[in-house]
C-alpha cells in the first residue's frame, strides 16, 4: 500500500507543493549580484510573501543562489557548500557571468559556464538582473518544482564522474573530501 505507485504520486504532489511554497535561499554572494538580493528580500519587492526566505547555513538551505562570476578559488568553496546541502536542493545561476562569463569572458581565473561544474536548475539572465527578474526566476523555479522537473541534484549524482572531472580540471589543489551520501 505504501509503495503503491498512485499513493507515491499523491505524496509527491503534497511534498512538491510544500517545497514550492517554502524556498530557503543560501545567497552565495560571489560577485556584484549580491547587491540585488537585499531589495528583493526587503519591503519593496518582499520575496517572503512567496515563501522565499534566507537560510543561515548550507544544511538548512534548499536553493543555492550563485550571484555572479565565480573565480576558480571561489568555485572550490561553492562546490563544498553545494555538497553540504540536503536533498532536494536546487541551484540558481544569477546574471550573465554564470551563463557565458559575461564581462569576464576572457578572464584567466573565472569559470565561464557554471553548468559544467554544478547542475543549474534556473538561470536568471541580465547584468545585473533587476529584483523583478529575480522574482521571475523564483517563479520559474517554483513551477519546475511543482512539476517535479527541478532534478539538478539527481543529475549531479548520476553524472558525478563528469562533474568531478570538470571540477578537478580547474581546481588544481584539490584537498577536499569526496562527495558521499
Amino acid at each position: 500500500m505504501i509503495n503503491d505507485k498512485n499513493s507515491q504520486k499523491i505524496v509527491d504532489i503534497i511534498q512538491n507543493w510544500s517545497r514550492k511554497h517554502s524556498i530557503w535561499v543560501l545567497a552565495y554572494g560571489t560577485g556584484c549580484g549580491a547587491i540585488e538580493i537585499p531589495p528583493t528580500m526587503t519591503s519593496r519587492y518582499d520575496a517572503e510573501r512567496l515563501g522565499v526566505r534566507g537560510a543561515a547555513t548550507p544544511r538548512q538551505a534548499d536553493v543555492l543562489l550563485i550571484t555572479g562570476y565565480l573565480t576558480t578559488k571561489t568555485l572550490k568553496r561553492v562546490i563544498r557548500v553545494y555538497e553540504q546541502m540536503q536533498d532536494p536542493k536546487y541551484v540558481i545561476g544569477f546574471g550573465s557571468c554564470t551563463i557565458n562569463g559575461g564581462m569576464y569572458y576572457d578572464s584567466y581565473n573565472t569559470i565561464k559556464l557554471l553548468d559544467r561544474y554544478l547542475p543549474v536548475d534556473v538561470y536568471i539572465n541580465g547584468c545585473m538582473p533587476r529584483p523583478e527578474a529575480v522574482l521571475a526566476g523564483f517563479g520559474k523555479l517554483q513551477k519546475l518544482i511543482a512539476e517535479g522537473k527541478a532534478t539538478g541534484a539527481t543529475k549531479y549524482k548520476e553524472n558525478i564522474e563528469w562533474y568531478k572531472e570538470n571540477q578537478k580540471k580547474v581546481i588544481t589543489n584539490w584537498v577536499m573530501p569526496d562527495y558521499n551520501w
Binding site: 503534497i14 511534498q15 510544500s18 517545497r19 511554497h21 517554502s22 526587503t42 519591503s43 518582499d46 517572503e48 510573501r49 515563501g51 534566507g54 543561515a56 547555513t57 548550507p58 544544511r59 538548512q60 538551505a61 534548499d62 546541502m85 540536503q86 536533498d87 532536494p88 551520501w181
Partner: protein, 303 residues
C-alpha cells in the same frame, strides 16, 4: 473515564494542540513583523508549509551520537513542560499531570532541553554552534534570576509551590495575581523577553551574525524537530504565564486570547529593537528585572 488510554489520548490531544497553536502564533508573528515593516508578508500558515518541507527533506548528516540526540532532548523538554502546565482549569482532556507537577520541577525541566541541545551542538564541531551555546547559557544566567525571584515571591506570598493552587487562589480572591503581586509580574514579563529569544535578545540564533548558532549544523528533519519543539515550548510557557498571572482559562477561546496577548509583548518589543551584545543582554537582566524581582520578594514578605 479514568482508564489509561483516555489519559494517553488526552496527552496526544494536548501536544497536537500545542503544536498547532505554537506554529500559528509564530506564523502570525512573521505576518505582523512584515506588516510593521510595510511588507505584505507570508501567509499565517507559512510555518506549517515550512515544517512539512523540512520533514520531507533528507538528513544525511552525521556528527556523532549526541548530535542526533540533541533535538530529541529539546522535544522531551517541550512535551514534559506542556504535560505539567495546567492547560485548562477543570477539564478532563487537558488534565495531564498537572496535579502532581509543581513550579520547582518545572524550573528544572525548562533548562534541561537547552542543556541537552548544547551537548548536541558541541559535538557538531561548528564554531558558530560553540559560540551560540556559550551565549545561550550566559543569557540563561541573566534571565533565570529575575524569573526565579518572581516565582519565589509567589511561592512565599501564597505558601504553595503548586500551579493549580495558585490558580485557585486567584479564583477565590477574584483578582489576578498580575494585580495582587504586580512586581512579580513585571519581573517575570521582563525575564520572558529573554526566554522567547526575540530581538533584542536573539543573541543565540543571530542568523546574520552566528549563522543561526547552535542549530547551524541541523537541517531537514532535525530542524523540523527543533521547530515543532520550539512551538510546543512557546505554548507551554505562554500557558504558564496565563496560569500564574492571568487567572488561568476555563475554555480554549479564552486561553488563546490570553496567551496571544502575552505573546504580543516579546514579539512587538522585538520588532522595534535591534540586537544586544551578550554583555548588554546580561546587564539588562541584572538591572531593572532584578530590581523588580527584589521588590516582589519584599512585597511578598511584607504582605
Amino acid at each position: 473515564m479514568d482508564s489509561i488510554w483516555y489519559k494517553i489520548l488526552g496527552a496526544i490531544v494536548t501536544v497536537v494542540m500545542a503544536f498547532i497553536v505554537g506554529l500559528t502564533y509564530m506564523g502570525l508573528s512573521r505576518k505582523i513583523t512584515a506588516r510593521v515593516q510595510n511588507r505584505k508578508g507570508p501567509p499565517f500558515y507559512q510555518n506549517f508549509i515550512d515544517a512539512l518541507k523540512l520533514a520531507s527533506k533528507t538528513s544525511a548528516i552525521h556528527h556523532g551520537f549526541l548530535h542526533h540526540v540533541g533535538p530529541a532532548f529539546m522535544m522531551i523538554t517541550s512535551i514534559m513542560s506542556v504535560m505539567i502546565v495546567p492547560i485548562l482549569t477543570g477539564d478532563q482532556w487537558f488534565s495531564n499531570l498537572n496535579f502532581k507537577g509543581d513550579l520547582i520541577f518545572l524550573l528544572y525541566i525548562m533548562v534541561f532541553g537547552p542543556l541537552g541541545m548544547a551537548l548536541g551542538a558541541g559535538q557538531t564541531g561548528n564554531p558558530n554552534s560553540a559560540i551560540g551555546v556559550t551565549r545561550g547559557l550566559s543569557q540563561m544566567v541573566g534571565f533565570e534570576i529575575p524569573w526565579v525571584m518572581a516565582l519565589v515571591a509567589l511561592m512565599m506570598q501564597y505558601h504553595t509551590t503548586s500551579i493549580v493552587d495558585l490558580i485557585n487562589v486567584q479564583h477565590q480572591s477574584g483578582t489576578w495575581l498580575m494585580f495582587s503581586s504586580p512586581f512579580a509580574f513585571i519581573a517575570a514579563v521582563l525575564a520572558m523577553l529573554g526566554m522567547f529569544r526575540y530581538s533584542p535578545f536573539d543573541i543565540v540564533g543571530a542568523p546574520t551574525e552566528l549563522a543561526s548558532g547552535p542549530v547551524s549544523e541541523n537541517g531537514g528533519k532535525y530542524l523540523f524537530t527543533l521547530m515543532s519543539s520550539n512551538s510546543i515550548f512557546a505554548f507551554a510557557k505562554l500557558t504558564l504565564y496565563v496560569d500564574l498571572f492571568l487567572g488561568g482559562a476555563s475554555n480554549i477561546p479564552v486561553l488563546l486570547l490570553k496567551t496571544f496577548a502575552i505573546y504580543l509583548i516579546p514579539m512587538l518589543y522585538g520588532i522595534v529593537s535591534p540586537r544586544y551584545r551578550t554583555e548588554q543582554a546580561i546587564r539588562y537582566f541584572w538591572g531593572w528585572p532584578l530590581f523588580f524581582g527584589i521588590l516582589a520578594i519584599l512585597h511578598a514578605t511584607v504582605f
